[in-house]
Amino acid sequence: MGNQNRKRLIRQFTIPLLAIICGLLLAAVLLLLADKSPSAAIQSIFRDAFSCSSFNNCNLFTTFSLATPLLLTGLSAVVAFRSGIFSIGQEGQMMLGAITAAYLGYWVSLPDNVHSIVIAIGAIIVGGIYGWFAGWLKIRLGINEIISTIILSEIAILLLLYLVNFPMRADQGATAYSPKIHDTAMLTVFAPGSKFGTGFVIAVSAVVLVYIYLWKSGKGYEQRMSGEAPRFAFFGGIKSEKAALRGMFISGGLAGLAGAIEVMGVHYRVVSLPIVFDGLLISYLSLLNPIILMFNSVLIAGLRNGFQLSFQYNLGINREIGSIFLIIVMLLIVKNNYFKSK
């Protein structure tokens, strides 16, 4: 049976890989039809997404920093789904985390290191409460979490737009953004020229912590049992509602942390952040497994980088077409999951 587990694990990793290979083949066909060289295209993707020529000129590092929000929002979705709540509110929770970080980063002064830790904790709490609230709406009032998280996300986005445009606006420039956070609040960047730094390390640590929580701890056991088989959990005396609310707090906290890291490690202010809704999708592609999620986030971040930017720079294929390739790859992975579940 241990052998069987190993086989399953191998399958879980090979499925996305095969899907990517199929996606690339399909992309190659499309490229041929457009009179572009597929081999040049694929080379350019891997060069711009996964190559590393020197420490200070490393595309892989950029990919890592792009993968960070995907990883954290994906992790957020994993925890929510594993608690049996189909929360798609990662975007809103992330926005609130970003607002919190921008606020604490500029309007509060604290010593180096302490400042960023305080911000991270603040963002986790704010995002966590927002997630918890969606869970509370479902459990206490029976409001469907899909609807409530969509609405809550919308509210968070509007709140962010309002704050950035009015109370938190830095100057009267064409684009509204909040003032730059203090240096003490910024995360360390390891490699100049990229945003690869502490943020990615935090995200990877979060993966490890979530993995330990879900699969090694008693509380995580409650979480999984309640999510997978609610009746079984109830029968065994597990307080499923409490477990689900805890799961939603953690889920919201992770998304909030994603927002904070974008502010502290990438933009140093809130603009209107790019939507990282992909985290939700990738969590599904990764079969709700944090470890697979970690690899997939890097992969998808890299491919997105490659398909969009690299195609545009090197082949003159505009980025929207590039996104289509990415979507094809994702569809293939979903399709594979479908076959796997058969």
């Binding site: 049976m1 241990g2 069987q4 587990n5 330990i212 090694k216 701890s217 008693g218 509380k219 056991y221 409650e222 999984r224 049992m225 997978e228 088989a229 009746r231 079984f232 959990a233 109830f234 029968f235 065994g236 005396g237 597990i238 307080k239």
Partner: protein
């Protein structure tokens, strides 16, 4: 009377469950009669009905309608042949009106396209008047009582010109008042020339209503009687069967002190109707108390109330002298109440999880399995291996999934968990349902050994044989009440059968629990 339907040597074998649901069933219906089919759970009544209605196709045998041999492979065939079925669980659209539901799929049309609403309502009015089934065609289904919804189902069948109406336990969902009305409706329909076939396990209704009664047991027809030539006693004994080998398996022992006292409890079912309506009994150490009864008479709700999965409306649960009404499932488990649930797929096990995770359910937070909130993998594996070995769970490993296991081996996993740590009270609900003979034997022996070791056991089963073979005393439930508490050594199987059917027996044979 003229024969309308004849069934000859109908047989059906279900491969997946290895059950011969019907073997050589013969049945004759005369036009205009009310024919009841009675039998215990698993007697094959529903399979027979489903074959007549085209939901299940027979392996062999013939169905003859109006002297023509017919093949019924789909409900549409049945409807064309004039057979209609009123299901126990209604198939109605709640947001549609009565008329729309009745004529669904065969609406009268005007101008070749539009539904003729007026004609539709008029048709339904005419139908309901001619059949004496009063109803408001315009009212919405969701605003109707269960009894009225059933009436809509009947009209639906009549609208499709059914001559033979099949009812699957029609009174199970009704209030006593509605039952009375239904019985009148059925009599009325038979006077209008319709033939009625209904499944039930309530003997009282059969005696009140039926012209003829066929008794089934274990997939076979035991006999057919005209209602004038039989009585409840005979029917009850035909139902439970004389020829079952009963062998009481209990070691004589001293019954220990009282462990559970159920005092006049009332429990509601899912839809808020009382399912347990004031039940009292006691369980002692070293004792197996069997709860007998046809399924659906409140046993499930009773069990769920005792283990804490359902609230008690009134009454008291006393465990070891303390009231546990307010304790939740986890607390009761900690006190030493374990529960082998009737549904092992959804309740007893988590099919997505491995054996380890399934086994630690009730003690994952104990010191044995966790330290500082982190689960101890090695202890979990050790425990899993112990259970797998002790209960000889075939083809299982600690990290393997439970979904691949056979039913018997799944149940062994449940037993392994629930019997861990010598529980004081074991609630076993249908512990052998769907198991093969070997596994049944194993479960029985296990329960008996725990009884001898000092546990109090509440055994709920619809298998009367199981109850009688294993129980020190038997509590018979009917319609949410205790119809009698007996010692199986002192009463006949027929008497228990009567109690199960809601009839009375000689009060001297009943045990009074103070």
């Amino acid at each position: 009377m003229k024969k309308i339907l004849e069934v000859k040597n109908l047989s059906k074998y279900f491969e997946t469950t290895n059950v011969k649901a019907n073997s050589d069933v013969n049945l004759t219906l005369s036009r205009g009669e009310i024919h009841a089919i009675i039998g215990e759970n698993g007697a094959g009544k529903t399979t027979l009905m489903n074959m007549l209605y085209g939901l299940v196709s027979p392996d062999s045998g013939t169905i003859i309608i109006n002297d023509n041999e017919v093949q019924i492979t789909h409900p549409n065939d049945a409807i064309k042949l004039g057979i209609g079925m009123v299901h126990q669980h209604f198939k109605l659209v709640p947001s549609y009106s009565v008329a729309e539901n009745i004529s669904l799929g065969m609406e009268p049309v005007k101008n070749k396209f539009f539904i003729d609403k007026n004609l539709e309502i008029q048709n339904i009015k005419n139908l309901s008047e001619s059949m004496g089934l009063e109803i408001q065609p315009e009212s919405l289904i969701k605003n109707l009582s269960v009894g009225m919804q059933q009436r809509v189902e009947i009209l639906k069948v009549l609208y499709r010109n059914a001559e033979i109406l099949i009812f699957d336990e029609p009174t199970a969902v009704l209030t006593p008042q509605e039952v009375k009305e239904l019985l009148n409706v059925l009599k009325n329909l038979s006077e209008k020339g319709k033939t009625i076939l209904f499944i039930t396990h309530k003997l009282g209704e059969v005696m009140q209503l039926a012209d003829t009664v066929t008794v089934m047991r274990l997939g076979k027809v035991v006999g057919t009687r005209s209602i004038n030539n039989t009585n409840t006693k005979e029917l009850a004994s035909m139902m439970v069967g004389r020829d079952i080998e009963f062998s009481r398996k209990l070691n004589p022992n001293e019954t220990g002190e009282e462990i559970l006292d159920v005092k006049n409890i009332m429990v509601l079912n899912e839809v808020g109707v009382p399912a347990v309506k004031g039940v009292s009994f006691k369980v002692n150490k070293n004792q197996i108390v069997g709860i007998a009864g046809v399924s659906g008479n409140g046993q499930t709700e009773l069990v769920e109330a005792i283990v804490g999965m359902k609230n008690i409306e009134f009454g008291e649960l006393i465990f070891e002298g303390k009231n546990i009404n307010k304790s939740n499932v986890g607390k009761r488990r900690d006190l030493g109440i374990s529960h082998i649930p009737e549904d092992r797929i959804q309740t007893g096990l988590n099919m997505q999880a491995n054996i380890e995770d399934n086994l630690i359910l009730s003690q994952y937070s104990s010191d044995q399995f966790s330290r500082f909130g982190i689960l101890l993998k090695s202890e979990m594996q050790k425990f899993s291996r112990e259970v797998i070995q002790k209960f000889s769970v075939a083809s299982a490993s600690p990290g393997g999934g439970v979904s691949m296991l056979s039913g018997g081996n799944m149940q062994k996993v449940v037993l392994g968990r629930e019997l861990f740590g010598n529980p004081k009270l074991i609630i076993a609900n249908q512990p052998t349902r769907g198991l093969d003979v070997g596994s049944i034997e194993f479960v029985h022996e296990t329960l008996l050994s725990y009884r001898d070791a000092g546990s109090g056991i509440l055994l709920v089963s619809v298998e009367l044989e199981e109850i009688i073979n294993l129980s020190d005393i038997v509590v018979v439930m009917f319609d949410g009440l205790v119809s009698g508490i007996v010692n199986p050594d002192n009463v006949s199987i027929e008497e228990i059968g009567l109690l199960m059917a809601g009839e009375k027996i000689n009060p001297e044979n009943l045990i009074k629990q103070g």
